[in-house]
Symmetry: C2
Subunit: 367 residues, 2 copies
Amino acid sequence: MTLLSPSRRLRRTAFSEGVEAAGVKAYTVYNHMLLPTVFRSVEEDYHHLKQAVQVWDVACERQVELRGPDAGRLAQLLTPRDLRGMLPGQCYYVPIVDETGGMLNDPVAVKLADDRWWISIADSDLLYWIKGLAHGYRLDVLVDEPDVSPLAVQGPRADDLMAAVFGDKVRDIRFFRFAPFDFQGRSMVVARSGYSKQGGFEIYVEGEDMGMPLWNALMEAGRSMDVYAGCPNLIERIESGLLSYGNDMTDDNTPHECGLGRFCNTQTAIGCIGRDALLRVANEGPIKQIRAMEIEGPVVPACDRWWPLKDGEKAVGRVSSAAWSPDFKTNVAIAMVRMTHWDDGTELTVETPTGLRPAKVRENFWA
Amino acid sequence: MTLLSPSRRLRRTAFSEGVEAAGVKAYTVYNHMLLPTVFRSVEEDYHHLKQAVQVWDVACERQVELRGPDAGRLAQLLTPRDLRGMLPGQCYYVPIVDETGGMLNDPVAVKLADDRWWISIADSDLLYWIKGLAHGYRLDVLVDEPDVSPLAVQGPRADDLMAAVFGDKVRDIRFFRFAPFDFQGRSMVVARSGYSKQGGFEIYVEGEDMGMPLWNALMEAGRSMDVYAGCPNLIERIESGLLSYGNDMTDDNTPHECGLGRFCNTQTAIGCIGRDALLRVANEGPIKQIRAMEIEGPVVPACDRWWPLKDGEKAVGRVSSAAWSPDFKTNVAIAMVRMTHWDDGTELTVETPTGLRPAKVRENFWA
């Protein structure tokens, strides 16, 4: 790994002090902000995440706030998911598409009220797209990045840790629902969600000044639960089939190619900008799609570029994320594969920077 | 410095092989792409840039292409700079503002033809803003990121190196003009421009496959000229007063606050979205503005966050970029300062992470 040069442009977060005190070893950059990637080691962090509980600085999941009479209309313009049945207190995973049906982001929409939404974004300046549309359509809505920093609590002991800080009522929050909770006299949105399959919560911390008090309270309350600082874990997210915008998909891909067709109600999502472009693919299905992939051999190198997938000489797809899984004793990977070769068990060859490897398509992810 | 975790999301460039072979030591991330920051050391790179010639991988200056009958109208929507007199073959530095007059980016616009423009962007997904507007205004224009990778040749011997590869006619290009030049049978736009004050060119390499052939040709031709791989240099850019979007300005700032009022023709830039919002500040001037700043004492730490500027207890601004200058034997810095304290010679105090330092406002940058 090379070094990362610090600058103000790579924004620190409301939790950076805590992250540094916990001995962060590496970062990535996400929405112009520092996102920790390693504390003890990727493998140690992985085992700990599956056994205990971690506090994650995911402030880089910046929010785009929509506020005003046209907020709901604007939200529906953005996504082929039908939002009509969505109630305040719900979170929806919403593929965001442009007029060609290409993915611009895959955020979680948080409906605070009919006229107030947060869009919790993946790594692209979705704020710019939404502002441009709001202006072009002359909508009656304010679009801005509020001072909100998500903090995630993830792992099998997440409920216990959260209950110790927010009270037992936090256990009642259902998956992808949220409710306001009090912390030191300030109200915070707490959702049952997060970028792992180990269970947990995301706390939307309003006001940067509340970042470190909450971080410290969680660390303090979790002492007996083996709490530690953590971060989205490369291995665990691949095992769990959690896609990463910019890694596994870009604006070249439709939601259907990304296996997100179940989040598209293309017939009924009236108003969605990409609806017309998606009708055909929604009916016929895509010609390539995301698949879980097993790569044989020893630990793969870092997947810092597409690795071509071949059937003999024929290009049939590419791997976008890969890592060695200690639990499944194989290299786990995410790939985009053409329909001629995407069936469970199809044997292919992958070109890694350290040579060719046999690889096999799997029907499902590992977790 | 901490480590940077590799992933496909942090895109490699058409020149990454060359950059790695030259021994890159550190990166930053810019437009979701790797941008080298250090080769030998920031200071060695600095001296070499001022004495010889460097080849810079600035592929991260991604292009937004506007193509179609409404391309010119769309370009004028984006900026308060009057584009009516701009001819094909010219480059303009164009502040881009939203409807509130806040800066969204500060790119260079390259007018290829009346109906074809490239916007060579700083670090924000300006593509999203432009696409959103084009769609909202129903303009007859295609907006996309083309396969174009800028490569810069910078330093006092840049003309000689470029002439060795592209022929002597390249010397005739005037500042912020461009012309097409042939390289191995492919046409490339070559502009006299670049993110240093040492003189030089930017080559807009169309087609990723041409990246390494051109890199290698420049390295080969420059052997006798002490050519080396380089990158935008923190010290040199501060001395030269070259602003960095995300560091020295954000969407909270108007162009006038950034000292870019001379690029705003607010009266005549009819169509510009931010025009109305900027009329008042264009007449009255801003109440805070970018200033060059000298910071006393030994070498300052890395400026990875705003450093508050104080007059006694009173907050009067903040420093956004700072570095030790070997040539000027002082810490050079860029700050946003309130008008009550922005006069040449005003003495202030700056709060750095390693303690308070005396600082002084300067009328001009160093170079």
